[in-house]
Symmetry: C3
Subunit: 452 residues, 3 copies
C-alpha cells in the first residue's frame, strides 16, 4: 500500500455522480418491481438479466433434483395467469393486478367450489385490512390466494371459479454470480436474495444496491476480491455453498444486502462470531455517520446469513440493512412497494457499503519505526508550530494514536476503535506517517501466502 | 438421554398436588416452630426426627470434643426452663413464653441480683421495641436473656431472681444426611441449617422446602445424585466437610436453602466462582419466571456457603433465597414467625428449586449431525409449511438455535443463555432434533468416568 | 512485612502537621510564581534551586545539541526584557508586567514596525478578552507577544517599537532528579514538568506537591524505591529516557503530577495498559475518598505520560490530577494564577498521593494457612462473641475476605477490589491474620531477585 491508497479511504464513500446513481437505482427498481419472481422460474431469470446491464454476472442453472446438503433443488415454477371468479364471472382476485395475490409456488388448479372450500386457501391480514400478504409454499405442494382482509370479508357465500395456470415441474434454479478479482485471493462475499415478487424494500432494494456496488467497485483498485451472489433465498445460498465448498475458505468477510431502501435507521446484524473484522468495520462506519443506528446480535433467523453462519461454515458474514425483516409494518405485504423506498436511502446505503468495504481494503497493520518516545513531528511539518493550545486537532491526535499503537500487532481498525476517531482519519494519519518513514507496513502472512 | 427425558424438562416444575404440598409444608412449619433448637441438643434432634417422616434421612451424632479442622465440636446444650422473676415473684421474662428469650447456649444460673447486675445480660432492640431479638453465645460461656425493648424499659430498679435450668456438657452434635443416588456419582449438595429456635423464615422454611424437595426428587428419574444435609449452621458444615473430605470432589453443584418462605422476590447469591453451572442454571430459571429477582455476588458472609466456598474447598455452591439474611426487618427477631411465611411462597420456592435442578439434569451437550447449512426441517414436520410470516414461533427459534450452536462444545445452558430463550424450550427443541437424528449426544468425559 | 507495617497503611495518608504543610506549599507557590520558566534557561534553573530547599535533588545539565532519540536538546533560552512601545514611547505590552506576554522562546528583535507588521506576531483569546494566553515556539525560531484581546483591539494603527532582549544559543537544558531508595530496586517514578512560566495550577502545583511528597516519603520506611523527576515537558522526559535507558526496567509504577491545586474533583488518567497496579491502586483510593472523581482512559496526548507510555517503553505510568489540561477555562492563560490554587486542594492532593503510594507499599500477597473452612476467629479474639446480629462489622468482613481470597495468587489489591472494602481495612485485616499465624506472606519472585 502506498500513501495515496490510504488517503483514498477518507473520501472513499464519495460517488462520482450521486444524483445519477440514485436515479439509476430508482429506475432499476421501477423496471424490476412488476416481475413475478420466485425461487425458480422465468421471473427470477428475467430479473437477473436486467441486472446484467449493470453488473456482468454469470447466470448458473442448477437442475431440479440436485442434492445440495440436506436439501434437493425443487421443481421449477412458472405461472401465466391466476384468478378467482365469482358466480357472475367477475374476477374477485386477479394475479394480473398483483402477483402477490397468488400463493407463491401454487400448483395448477381449475375448479369451481363453494366459499367454504375456498376459504382455507385464502390468506389475509386482519390487522392491515387493505394490504395483501405475501405467502409461499415452496416445499409443500399446495395452492392458495393472498387477499386483503377487506376482500376476504366481502366474498358472498356462493360458488367460485378457481383458476391457476401454473407449472411446477423439473427444470432449473437460476442464480447469478460475479467475481471481481483483487490483489489477493481473500474474498468479500456480497449476497442478496432475488426470489421475492413485487416487494420493493425486501428485496429489490438489496438487488439494486448490490448491483451498483459491484459496478462502483469494478472501477476502483482492489486489494481484496469481491464475490457477488444474486440468489434465491435459503435454497440459493445452500446450493452455492454445496457447489463451491472447496473455495469457501477464501471468504474472509461477507455482508447480506437487504432492506436498504426504506427511510429507517441502519441496523447491523453481527456475524455469528460477533467480533469479526466485518463486524468491527461496520461498527466503525456507523458510529461516525452522525445518525442513529442499531447493532444487533446474530440470531439463526433472517436471510441467507442463516446458511453462511451455520455451524459447519461459520463464515464472518453479517447483514447491513435499514429496518430489518419483520420490523416494519409493510414487511411481506403489498405495502412494501415503490413508495416505501427512497432514492436518498438507496444512495446512502450504497455509500455506506462502500465506506465499510474501504475499511476492509485499508485495514493494514504497521510497525512504528521510532517507538521510543514520540518522533519530532514538528520537524516533519506534521505538528502545529505554535504550542500551548487547549486541544490537539483531530489530525494530530490521529498521528499520535497511530504512532502509539503501531506495534505490528494492532491494525488500523484496532487503533480507530481504541482512539474513538473515524477510520478515515486514522488511515490518513497512517499514510502521512508512512510517507515520513515513521511507519513500516507489517506484511500479513495470510495475504503473502495468497497472492493472486 | 432420550427424547422423553428432555421433554420432561418443560414441565418439570409442576407438582402433582400443589395444594396439598403447600398445606403439608405449612403443617410441618407449625409443628416445628415451637421447638427450641440450637447447634446441639434435643430440640435439634427432635426437629430432624419430625422431618424424617418426609425424608428418610440418617441422623449422625458427633461427640463433643471432636476436632474438625480448626474447630472443636462443642458441648451439648439442653434447656428445661428459664425465667427472671421480679421481687414480687412474678415472671417478667419467661422461656416458656418464647424460647428466643434465652440467650442461646446460656450456662445454668440461679441467683438473685440487682437490676444493675442483670442489665448487662439483657439484649433488646431499641429500633423495634416490641420484638425479642435472637442472640447466641456458642463459644463463649455466658448467660443472658433477650427481651423486647419495652420490657427492658419497664423493669424497676429492684432485686431479680435469675433462673436458667440448662446443661452444657459433653454429649453429641446431631445432623441429618440423605443421599438420593442417580445414574452418575456427580452430586448436587442441598444444605440447610436447622439450629435456629423459633424463627420461621430463617430457617424453618429452608428445612421444610429441603425436605419436600428430597421427597419430590425421590419420585423422579435422576441422572445426578443428590445429597441433602440438615445441619447446625457453621459447625455443622465444617464437621460434615471434615468427616467427608475424600468424597467432596463428587459435589458438582450445590445450593444452600434458607429464607424461602417470605413473600419477597427471589435473591440468588452466586457461588465463589460466580460462573458455575449452578449459577447459570439459577439465572436462567429466574430470568424466565416473569417476576422481579436479584442476583448478588458471593461474599464470605451469610450461611454455610461460607464453608463450602472457603478457599480450600471452593465448591460450586450458591444460595437461592427469597429475602436474604439481614435484609428483612424481622430477621433474627420474634417477628420472624409463622405469619411472615406464606404457603404460596413456600410452594413457589419448592417449584423454583425443582426447575433449577431440572436444568442440571438436562444440561447435555450435542453435536449437530448436519452442520453445513440448516437441515430441511419442513420435510421432518418441524417447520411451518406456509412461509412469509414476520416472526418464527419460539419453538422454531429454539430448533434453529440448538442446530446453530450444537458443536459438541456448547451445552443447552450455553444455548439458552445466548438465545435468550427459556431452558425448557431449548431442551424440548433438542429432544425433537434428537428424535429426528439431527443431533447426537456428546458424551461427557467426567460422566463416563464416574458411572454408578 | 510485619504486622505494624500493614497497620501503618490505615493512617498512611495522615500528615504530621497538616496546617503547616499546606502553608509551606502555598509559600513555595508564591515564591516560584513570578519566575519566567521555559524548557531551558535560568528561570528553570532558579526554580529547581528553590525546590532543593525541600528536596535535595541533583540538578543535571544536558548540553544543547545532544541527540536524544529522534530529538535534539535545543539551544538555551534566556530573556532579560521585552516590550512593545507605541509611537508615544509608552509600553503597551510589557514582559515585566507578566512573563506570559512574551511568546516563550522568542528570538531577540529590536525594530520599529507598523501595526500590520506586528499583528501576525500577536496572540490573544477572543473568548476570554481579559486574559493573556500562554504560547510557545520552541522548535521554530520566531518571536511574538501574547496579549489580552482587549489590548489587541485597543492598539491604534501606528508605528510600534518592538524590543525583545533574549538570547537563544548553545547552552544547557537543566532538570532535577531525586532518588529515595527502598528495600527493593522496584521503582516508583514521580514526574512533573517545570517548564511553564507564571502558570499556577499547570504546573507550579505539581512541582510543589511532588517536592513535598519526596520530603514526606524520605521520613518513612520504604519497601519501594522512589525516583522524582523535575523536568521540562516533552524534551525533558525524552532526554531522561534516552540517558537512562538501561535502568528503565526498574520502573514498576509511575505518576505524572500536574494540575493538583485547583478545587476540581480528582481525575485519573490511566496508564497505557489501563490495568496496571498503579491504575488499580489509584482507583481504590479514589473510590473510597467519599467524593466525586473521574477515571479516564489513556490517550497519547497530555503531559510526559506521552513519552513514558510510548510504544517502545509502555511504562505503567498514569497521571493523577484534579481538573486536567484543557478542561478548565483558565488553562494556559494568565487566569491560571495563584487565586486558582487552594491550599486545601494542594494538601488533599498530597494526602491522596501518599495514600496511593501506601497501597503500592503494602500490596502483598498471602497464603491462608488454614484454607479448609473458616478458622475459628472468635477463639483468637477476632470475632464478636455474641452472635445473631444482622451485619458483620467492616473489620470482620475484611478478615473473612482476606481469608477467603489469600491463595498465594491474589494480592491485597485484588481482595480490596473484589470485596469493595477500602484497602486500609484489607491491609489491617491481613496484618491481624498474619499476627495470628493464619496467613503466610507469599514471596514475590521479582522482589527476591532485586534486593537492594
Amino acid at each position: 500500500m502506498n500513501a495515496m491508497s490510504a488517503v483514498r479511504s477518507s473520501d472513499s464513500s464519495s460517488l462520482p455522480e450521486c444524483q445519477s446513481v440514485a436515479a439509476e437505482m430508482s429506475a432499476l427498481m421501477a423496471e424490476l418491481y412488476p416481475i413475478c419472481r420466485s425461487i425458480t422460474g422465468d421471473g427470477l431469470r428475467q430479473s437477473l438479466r436486467i441486472l446484467q446491464r449493470v453488473v456482468p454476472m454469470e447466470l448458473h442453472e442448477v437442475a431440479s433434483g440436485t442434492q445440495v446438503f440436506d436439501w434437493i433443488v425443487p421443481d421449477e415454477w412458472n405461472v401465466r395467469d391466476a384468478y378467482v371468479k365469482n358466480a357472475g364471472g367477475e374476477k374477485v382476485i386477479d394475479f394480473q393486478a398483483s402477483n402477490l395475490h397468488l400463493l407463491n409456488y401454487s400448483v395448477p388448479i381449475h375448479q369451481t367450489m363453494s366459499l367454504a372450500q375456498l376459504v382455507p386457501h385464502l390468506y389475509s391480514l386482519s390487522a392491515q385490512p387493505d394490504w395483501i400478504p405475501y405467502r409461499t409454499s415452496y416445499y409443500n405442494r399446495d395452492w392458495g390466494f393472498c387477499v386483503s382482509h377487506r376482500t376476504l370479508q366481502s366474498l358472498p357465500d356462493s360458488e367460485y371459479e378457481v383458476y391457476i395456470d401454473s407449472s411446477l415441474e423439473p427444470g432449473y434454479m437460476t442464480y447469478g454470480e460475479y467475481c471481481l478479482s483483487g490483489e489477493t485471493r481473500d474474498e468479500v462475499l456480497i449476497s442478496c436474495h432475488c426470489c421475492h415478487p413485487s416487494l420493493a424494500n425486501d428485496n429489490l432494494s438489496g438487488m439494486v444496491v448490490a448491483a451498483m456496488l459491484a459496478q462502483q467497485l469494478s472501477q476502483r483498485p482492489r486489494r481484496l476480491t469481491y464475490r457477488f451472489l444474486f440468489i434465491p433465498g435459503t435454497i440459493g445460498s445452500i446450493t452455492w455453498l454445496a457447489l463451491n465448498e472447496p473455495q469457501i475458505t477464501n471468504i474472509k468477510h461477507g455482508l447480506v444486502v437487504t432492506c436498504v431502501g426504506d427511510p429507517g435507521k441502519f441496523t447491523y446484524k453481527k456475524s455469528r462470531s460477533g467480533n469479526a473484522e466485518i463486524d468491527r468495520a461496520v461498527k466503525l462506519i456507523l458510529a461516525h455517520l452522525g445518525q442513529e443506528y442499531e447493532i444487533v446480535d446474530f440470531s439463526p433467523y433472517g436471510y441467507d446469513e442463516r446458511q453462511y453462519c451455520s455451524l459447519g461454515f461459520n463464515l464472518p458474514v453479517g447483514s447491513l440493512t435499514r429496518t430489518p425483516n419483520g420490523r416494519y409494518p409493510e414487511y411481506h405485504t403489498s405495502a412494501d412497494n415503490l413508495d416505501l423506498v427512497q432514492p436518498d436511502s438507496l444512495e446512502q446505503s450504497l455509500r455506506t457499503y462502500l465506506a465499510v468495504l474501504d475499511v476492509l481494503e485499508n485495514n493494514k497493520t504497521y510497525t512504528n519505526t521510532n517507538p521510543k518516545c514520540e518522533p519530532q513531528l514538528g520537524r516533519r511539518g506534521l505538528y502545529t508550530a505554535i504550542g500551548g493550545g487547549s486541544d490537539a486537532p483531530t489530525r494530530q491526535m490521529a498521528l499520535l494514536w497511530v504512532l502509539n499503537m503501531s506495534d505490528g500487532q494492532h491494525s488500523l481498525v484496532d487503533i480507530a476503535e481504541r482512539s474513538g476517531l473515524a477510520f478515515g482519519h486514522i488511515a490518513e494519519a497512517a499514510s502521512a506517517l508512512l510517507g515520513a518513514d515513521l511507519l513500516r507496513e507489517q506484511m500479513d502472512g495470510s495475504v503473502a501466502e495468497q497472492p493472486r
